[in-house]
């Protein structure tokens, strides 16, 4: 049993190919149902976003699994020749596949490290898979773990903490001055692209009132319509500034459009309610002296840009912490997967039976007092006869399922029914597996090891 991942992302494939292979939400259930029936696939899940298309599956052998998944991917876009897809694919198995999924969920593999959407997208992919019952014991555990790791990375590292775009940085700052942006007013001075983008971000963050002023009044009216805002004649805006909590300035003017005296006046009529002024014009349009006024917070393009560069660096530092967290979690999941192998389960079951048998025989012999070697042999045979007969069924069933897609399910069931936790931890399983790999025959004298 192995877990494999086959896919392509923004780093390995151009958008032309990604969009061909993308599975839209509406077609996802069908695609999952087909994947579930695909030969060689025990469990499967499809993660399709604008930046990646990835298939994760539980298969018997990694190489065969890669082939099946590659073939399956080909059927998503039959018009694209096989040879055109393969060079863009990455194929991972075992720990590497698990680590990849964890890194994806934690947004470490995203175009913008720390972006928030991917975690939700993984969750949606998982829910779709649950809807089609295309996942089972293994993928359910692995994907759930990926979601919790992704969440932990977001809350316990600063990876998603600081904005990495100018307009979003402006929104984040605004939220540290005004708790609630709803009901606050933004004044756009000039209608450059950057200013409009910032305004759009502010509006989607909850700001409801927008005022716009430009030297060309018609343009202001036009932009105001788009934002559902109020146009203001350019020569009047300094008087209207008192009503604005946030001022976004980006005109083509070559000198200051807003002076310190204007802002001081506005603050006085606002009774010192704070104002946030964002100057994204070059050359600057707001007198830097405004920044020295109490309760006025002035940020220019360099302040925001500098912030963003620092933030990107910080995200990279935080990403290292995230990688450490992921490494630890991958180790745990890999160990769990190993425990789902059928052979170690058989070994553990056998070992448990032997231990019980030996202990019971010793106990009863101690109570019987002096016995002849023959009597002793009879007691031991009785005990081993019972254990072996009882275990025969489960062991045969486990062996038979070892290579089937249900193997993990049987192994897990056996572990829970016989409470094998301790035995699985007790000894290096791989080694023991070699010794006990063959099904023990009923007749084998089990008392051999007993003292």
């Amino acid at each position: 049993m192995n877990i494999v991942a086959v896919g392509l992302n923004h780093k390995t494939a151009p958008v032309e190919l990604r969009e061909r292979l993308a599975v839209p939400e509406t077609r996802l259930p069908d695609a999952l149902a087909r994947l579930k029936r695909w030969p060689g696939i025990a469990e499967g899940i499809i993660l399709s976003t604008c930046n990646r298309v990835e298939l994760y599956a539980v298969v018997k052998e990694a190489e065969q699994g890669f082939d099946s998944l590659r073939d399956y991917l080909g059927t998503i876009a039959p018009e694209v020749p096989h040879g055109a897809i393969t060079p863009h694919l990455y194929c991972l198995d075992g720990r590497d596949a698990i680590r990849h999924l964890f890194r994806v969920a934690a947004s470490l593999d995203s175009m913008v490290v720390g972006e928030p959407q991917i975690l939700a997208q993984v969750k949606e992919a998982f829910e779709a898979a649950l809807g089609q019952k295309s996942t089972g014991v293994v993928l359910n555990k692995v994907v759930k773990k990926a979601l919790s790791v992704g969440k932990r990375v977001r809350t316990e590292t600063g990876i998603a903490e600081n904005a990495v775009s100018v307009s979003y940085a402006a929104v984040e700052l605004a939220k540290k001055i005004f708790q609630n942006l709803a009901g606050k007013t933004v004044l756009l001075v000039g209608a450059g692209e950057m200013a409009k983008l910032a305004a759009r971000h502010l509006v989607s963050a909850g700001m409801q009132h927008v005022m716009i002023t430009t030297r060309n009044y018609d343009l202001a009216v036009d932009v105001a319509k788009r934002f559902n805002g109020v146009p203001i004649p350019f020569n009047e805006f300094p008087h209207e500034m008192a009503g604005a909590d946030i001022v976004v300035c980006s005109t083509g003017a070559s000198s200051y459009v807003i002076g310190a005296a204007d802002v001081q006046q506005a603050l006085r009529s606002r009774r010192n309610r704070p104002m946030f002024l964002i100057d994204i014009s070059v050359p600057r349009n707001i007198d830097p002296a405004v920044g020295a006024l109490d309760n006025a917070y002035l940020y220019n393009i360099d302040d925001l840009q500098g912030q963003i560069e620092k933030n990107i660096e910080q995200r990279q530092r935080e990403a290292m912490k995230a990688e450490d967290m992921i490494r630890a979690e991958v180790g745990l999941v890999a160990a769990w997967m190993k425990s789902l192998e059928v052979v170690p389960t058989i070994v553990a079951l056998r070992r448990k039976a032997d231990d019980i048998q030996r202990a019971e025989v010793e106990r009863i012999l101690a109570r019987m007092g002096p016995v002849s070697p023959r009597q002793r042999q009879l007691v031991e045979d009785l005990a081993s006869g019972i254990t072996n007969k009882l275990l025969h069924g489960p062991l045969v069933a486990l062996k038979a399922e070892a290579d089937s897609p249900n193997g993990a399910l049987f192994a897990e069931a056996a572990q829970r029914l016989f409470n094998l936790e301790k035995e699985l931890e007790a000894a290096p399983l791989a080694e023991a597996g070699e010794r006990f790999g063959a099904e023990p025959s009923e007749a084998a004298p089990q008392g051999e090891d007993a003292p």
């Binding site: 316990e156 600063g158 001055i177 708790q179 009774r271 010192n272 109490d294 620092k310």
Partner: protein
């Protein structure tokens, strides 16, 4: 029994203080959860301590400086727990818990024995309760002001660190400051009136111009001016934050005056 509960509380607040101070430096989800839990458990034991002391004393335990400081600390933690549950301003704990701990350890240093209540002091708890609750409100205003000044400094210097992210928005802090003072002022007023009535009743004079009475009146006047300034001429935001931080120094001075000068019937 009450002393045992008190000591358990002291230990828990100490632990809580350490955990909350650690959090100023970084983000650790588990530390943050356990610190809240420890504050909660500490508060539970503190409540037990107060109730058992009341039962042992047979009257409301607000008749000595030890008891007053303990109650003050209890009310501070109560405010933190309520605000945390309501607004999720976890960082408030990093300011309130140390204050509560300092107050409680000061209480621990003072004589703890339960004094027999002279009949004349039977109604003194009213004066003490009002004054202390007023002080709690001013302490909250002080903390809101302090947080405001830190956040304001970080925003102005364009230096954004963990603290910047954890501290709430400026207008929220200003609002908290304003609410706290609007609540604290009437409480202090009631405290002073009941205190004056009590002084008249016990000593025959409303006012005898000792240090802590002057301190109390000075504090009252100060907050009156702060309050009126906000309403009339826009003393809000940074100015209000400064004033409340300074004003609380006056409150502390009055409190220390009560302890040190010893003219107050409490000492």
């Amino acid at each position: 029994m009450n002393v045992l509960f008190f000591e358990v509380t002291l230990l828990l607040y100490f632990l809580g203080t350490i955990l909350f101070l650690i959090q100023l430096a970084g983000r650790w989800e588990q530390v943050s959860q356990s610190s809240f839990a420890i504050a909660g458990i500490g508060f539970f034991f503190h409540t037990l301590a107060l109730v058992s002391r009341m039962i042992e004393a047979g009257h409301i335990p607000l008749t000595s400086m030890h008891e007053a400081l303990s109650f003050f600390s209890w009310a501070l933690v109560l405010v933190f727990l309520v605000v945390e549950l309501r607004y999720r301003i976890h960082i408030l704990g990093s300011f309130i818990l140390p204050l509560a701990f300092i107050s409680l350890i000061s209480a621990a240093a003072l004589p703890k024995e339960i004094k027999a209540l002279e009949p004349i002091f039977r109604n003194v708890w009213m004066h003490v309760t009002f004054s202390l609750l007023g002080t709690v409100a001013f302490a909250v205003a002080f903390i809101a002001g302090l947080m405001y000044l830190i956040q304001e400094h970080l925003l102005k210097s364009k230096h954004r660190n963990v603290l910047h992210h954890k501290l709430p928005a400026l207008d929220f802090l200003d609002d908290l400051n304003s609410k706290a003072i609007s609540l604290g002022f009437p409480l202090l007023t009631l405290g002073i009136i009941t205190g004056a009535l009590f002084a008249e009743f016990a000593r025959g004079s409303f006012l005898n111009w000792n240090a802590e009475q002057i301190g109390a009146l000075g504090t009252w006047l100060f907050y009156l001016v702060v309050l009126l300034g906000r309403v009339t001429i826009g003393w809000r935001a940074k100015k209000a934050a400064y004033l409340t931080v300074v004003g609380f120094a006056g409150v502390i001075f009055t409190l220390v005056g009560v302890i040190v000068k010893g003219q107050h019937p409490f000492a």
